[in-house]
Symmetry: D2
Amino acid sequence: MAGSTFGSLFKITTWGESHGAALGVVVDGCPAGLALCEVDIQTFLDRRKPGATKFATQRKEADSVEILSGIFEGKTTGTPISMLIRNTSQRSADYSEIASYYRPGHADYTFDQKYGFRDYRGGGRSSGRETIGRVAAGAIAAKALAQLGISVTAYTYAIGDITINMEHFDLNEARTNHTGMPDREANEKAAAYLQECMKNLDSAGGVVACSVKNLPAGIGEPVFGKLDANLAKAIMSIGAVKAFEIGDGTAAAKSNGSINNDCFRMKDGAVTKTTNHAGGVLGGISDGSELLLKAYFKPTPSIFQEQETVNQNGENITVQIKGRHDPIIVPRAVVVVEAMTAVTIFDMLLQNMTAQMTHLQHFYKK
Amino acid sequence: MAGSTFGSLFKITTWGESHGAALGVVVDGCPAGLALCEVDIQTFLDRRKPGATKFATQRKEADSVEILSGIFEGKTTGTPISMLIRNTSQRSADYSEIASYYRPGHADYTFDQKYGFRDYRGGGRSSGRETIGRVAAGAIAAKALAQLGISVTAYTYAIGDITINMEHFDLNEARTNHTGMPDREANEKAAAYLQECMKNLDSAGGVVACSVKNLPAGIGEPVFGKLDANLAKAIMSIGAVKAFEIGDGTAAAKSNGSINNDCFRMKDGAVTKTTNHAGGVLGGISDGSELLLKAYFKPTPSIFQEQETVNQNGENITVQIKGRHDPIIVPRAVVVVEAMTAVTIFDMLLQNMTAQMTHLQHFYKK
Amino acid sequence: MAGSTFGSLFKITTWGESHGAALGVVVDGCPAGLALCEVDIQTFLDRRKPGATKFATQRKEADSVEILSGIFEGKTTGTPISMLIRNTSQRSADYSEIASYYRPGHADYTFDQKYGFRDYRGGGRSSGRETIGRVAAGAIAAKALAQLGISVTAYTYAIGDITINMEHFDLNEARTNHTGMPDREANEKAAAYLQECMKNLDSAGGVVACSVKNLPAGIGEPVFGKLDANLAKAIMSIGAVKAFEIGDGTAAAKSNGSINNDCFRMKDGAVTKTTNHAGGVLGGISDGSELLLKAYFKPTPSIFQEQETVNQNGENITVQIKGRHDPIIVPRAVVVVEAMTAVTIFDMLLQNMTAQMTHLQHFYKK
Amino acid sequence: MAGSTFGSLFKITTWGESHGAALGVVVDGCPAGLALCEVDIQTFLDRRKPGATKFATQRKEADSVEILSGIFEGKTTGTPISMLIRNTSQRSADYSEIASYYRPGHADYTFDQKYGFRDYRGGGRSSGRETIGRVAAGAIAAKALAQLGISVTAYTYAIGDITINMEHFDLNEARTNHTGMPDREANEKAAAYLQECMKNLDSAGGVVACSVKNLPAGIGEPVFGKLDANLAKAIMSIGAVKAFEIGDGTAAAKSNGSINNDCFRMKDGAVTKTTNHAGGVLGGISDGSELLLKAYFKPTPSIFQEQETVNQNGENITVQIKGRHDPIIVPRAVVVVEAMTAVTIFDMLLQNMTAQMTHLQHFYKK
């Protein structure tokens, strides 16, 4: 069944494989009149480009976007925006060997079980390159949100055991170092840890955090369309994510109501909360405070150590994976988390516009 | 916008408020020919009934289900199954006071922001009673799964700081004690902790785990329709859930690839994994091993301590919530997690049936 | 698969069988703040009630609606509105005979082929009683549209060969006579024709027209979400409808561009069209003029003449249908067409609210 | 809102404008293992290519398809199939004039009303070139259906007043002449009529019929997912279609039950119908006989006669449209109707596979 479409009103459909001709996305339902050009998209894509950090595969891909539709005279027209990114650095030969066996931690086995065979070149559709379409779409959502004064910012929160100190928070640091951590000290520790992992032919996991600021209260739909439920799906759909949290997340389960409840107080004539354990969502609807989520990534499954597995003939074998692989997924995943958050938030902002009859009466009175 | 429908092929639509006339669910897309009667549903509903444990509100509700459609001669007909549960113990007077202010940790404020006003009686649609429809639908999904040999089992994994010891696992214990913990020792500690919380007019959080056994490999759709992404949405859509994990979850982020990768090995002629850090899902598709997820619940927001908040006139006030409230959500939420897992899994089993042309050729060759 | 849900933002899910316990509908996504009570719904339901005209089955059904959720203090809350109509006049014994064979023109055979068996009592889910849920939902949509100044009006346009004369148009006539024709003369001819059909143990078909007035320009989404495409689905999903037209419909295929094109002209400072061959839709989007559609109904398949058919043992047999049946579907279907048109139009009005970035900037600037 | 996606399990998303860089479609949910290459698609595209008949615009477009994803070693992989067709013959200068006014019968005015502005080059998204994506997707559906023994065949049924004689039916004639009529005599009359229209600087309408053979009984979902309801939406979503019929269509409304009912009879051990007034659908579900539908197209709105209209300054003006335009839409629309029918039918064949528990038990017992 079709699983490559996400969203209701702002709807994205991604396509493409690691070593196919190209990857891309169709963004349908973007409101008309948003100024948009290829630079807006490229800026986002460059943040996930291989080779951008020393902890990423040294494979070089230009990942240049071409916008094929939906823009006229520099603005979105309201019709689908199709974006294309050609693959240019396909060395499929690297992968011919893995055609015959199942890499541990990868989707080789499950794709075979589902479809009867698979595009084994670089993981095909299950490759991390699949996220290119998400990032291109996220660039549009983020630009639209910015016009409404809403900002979405993701960064590396932890790598292995090393967690950032929020008191050192420096976004500029995150955007220029190799780990994506907004804390110079943590970055240095994490870099050392990753060097160690690489020396051991091993890989590491980590955590990406994402913050949404200036989100109005009232966004999200009760029951199944909760803002955090949709964000959970958006984030858990990113390859290698194994857990999702909103606000205090897992820690809330050890807390007590007297602590975990955020009290309301008036401030400058507005309703505010004195704390934000909830992470900006109450009953699945935004409460006007900062929205905070975390995505937990497993270590890159492609490691250079010898591993046990089975081949397609049903024989136990020992393998050693070759090719070009990131020792950690997290730094390049930061922009993917940001993109998926932006896409989800923007879609739900659109959904919220029909919540009250007075909205309709105002809109259609003209 | 419509947020009360979940699922693609097995689609559920819930409705109803805490203190309205009734609650219910319409289950559409259930395959024809499943033997089904009200007892199948009631058994599930009784597990979430208030008054079932001493750590639940002492409000008495019969929560008797009536099946109104979709069954003929004891079997599902393939058409929508409508189920109705009347509210019988509405003491709305308890709630008249809260009409005027926003309870901390509840959705009062966010509903007002979204809709302009709210049904304040018992939280209306944001009440935990909303889950009745989910549980009734889950009973159907679970029965259908059982006919395919697939079992879905949820239990309390932790309460506050007390976590079960998997070596003591005893499901019968979980189904008969007051905490839902499948470990007698942990149950006793947790019970003592909850008594302490109640004495302090406070509430506690906890964790529900859910295991799916005998799930075939191949279930789940790549990219946005990943099995774990849909489960994340299903579980995070349950009120008070603040985090979702699959397999090792958050712990995977601190692991290394050499440990976290599950190796494949042949066993009795079948492909198996030697470990299950992944929790049964690779690339968003089931791998044939046990599926394991966890839902983290915040403490019940309704506590009897004095709290600070604001009222609808924008004044800072101090409130003390009255009424009948659970000191912990978790024990009654166990069956809700089980239900949502069953609904999601069954829907995705249906979706998977069209994955290969050979399936179609086989199906339509008759 | 689930086929009982219609709409995107204003989403309706109907359920129930002819001779089950009840029928109903869940309306999700209705904006909050619409004044609504059971009388609003009952007024619509009474227009389709059996026994309302002499050309309808004399089966007596109260068809009283009960609203179970989604209303608080007389207004919609934004959460699902569940409505229930109990069946009270089930004489299933009438139908025991048809369990064994396939009635010509009915869905008995196709349901058996699809589901392996069927609820044969009165056609089960394929009965015309299924439309009760549509009408209840349509009553809500129509009331909401009325608040925006938009009216939806259906009437009988033709019965057999007898077509109304638009110059005699009198809606009051349509609402009080037995045919639903807004033309006294046509009504008389049609009544005589129907008496003749009944005498011959035969049935007749006819045409329902529906007009939407004061619909703003801009409603409808390009390509697959065209306003007329969604209306076509809405109307063709009503049992017994065999053709759908918008504007001049089939006649347009015989016309020429020079005649069929509606010219634009300024009138009182507004863009208007000098003719309306298009029926109010250009490129799938409303153009601000009257929207006009027609639904063509086949004759009631239940006739009292002897007919040839086969039974479930695969034997050729001759049957004579008993029970209570309408000699024509059209008069009772008028309100069903009106309801489905209202539901579709209202859903698309909601969809249109996010078409431009300036709409969002205006909405969220607060 | 997003309107460029169609289908549930076999889901297509089209994009592109008449004079943009390219047009295309993403086909998601195609079962894995279907042999597919660009020739399969090109064959379909060539049937709608401008310049293919003398009654089509003489604009030359190669309309060459490039498949960018979803195929590996000559077979579909189950992941999205992205297809791209570059625009090569854009003479936007032809259109600069129409930027300022609203062409009668076109969507210029309605797009402006909806989006605030429009891509005026060749109609942008509302151009007939939009159907390229539909045809490319339809080629895949048709190939998959062929593997199940199901054929979909469309042809021109009428042009103006000239209707084909089914007794002369010759598909080869339709595929090689300029009108698409499968009747040599009718073709000649229609060709003469069209020459007359062109001489008068006018345009003509017509009817496309489509037949589906060997469709199994049981396809279609009750109530809103009726096979004919989904076909109606599919066909009415094609630009310029003003009416849709299934089986006898509008004629059924003038018939009587005793004639319109198709009797069942056993034939060679199988249930058959002695007539097919229903057009292969009973209660929205296929009955195993030939499925027959008709699409009524209005005359091409672009005519070379002088017409009255208004401009964007709100002034009444007289215009004479230039450029390259088909005097009739129908011959090139034949393959579009065939494509949309194939896409709809194939989607619903997939949906039907989960109708019975026994199907699941059979599928998952392995």
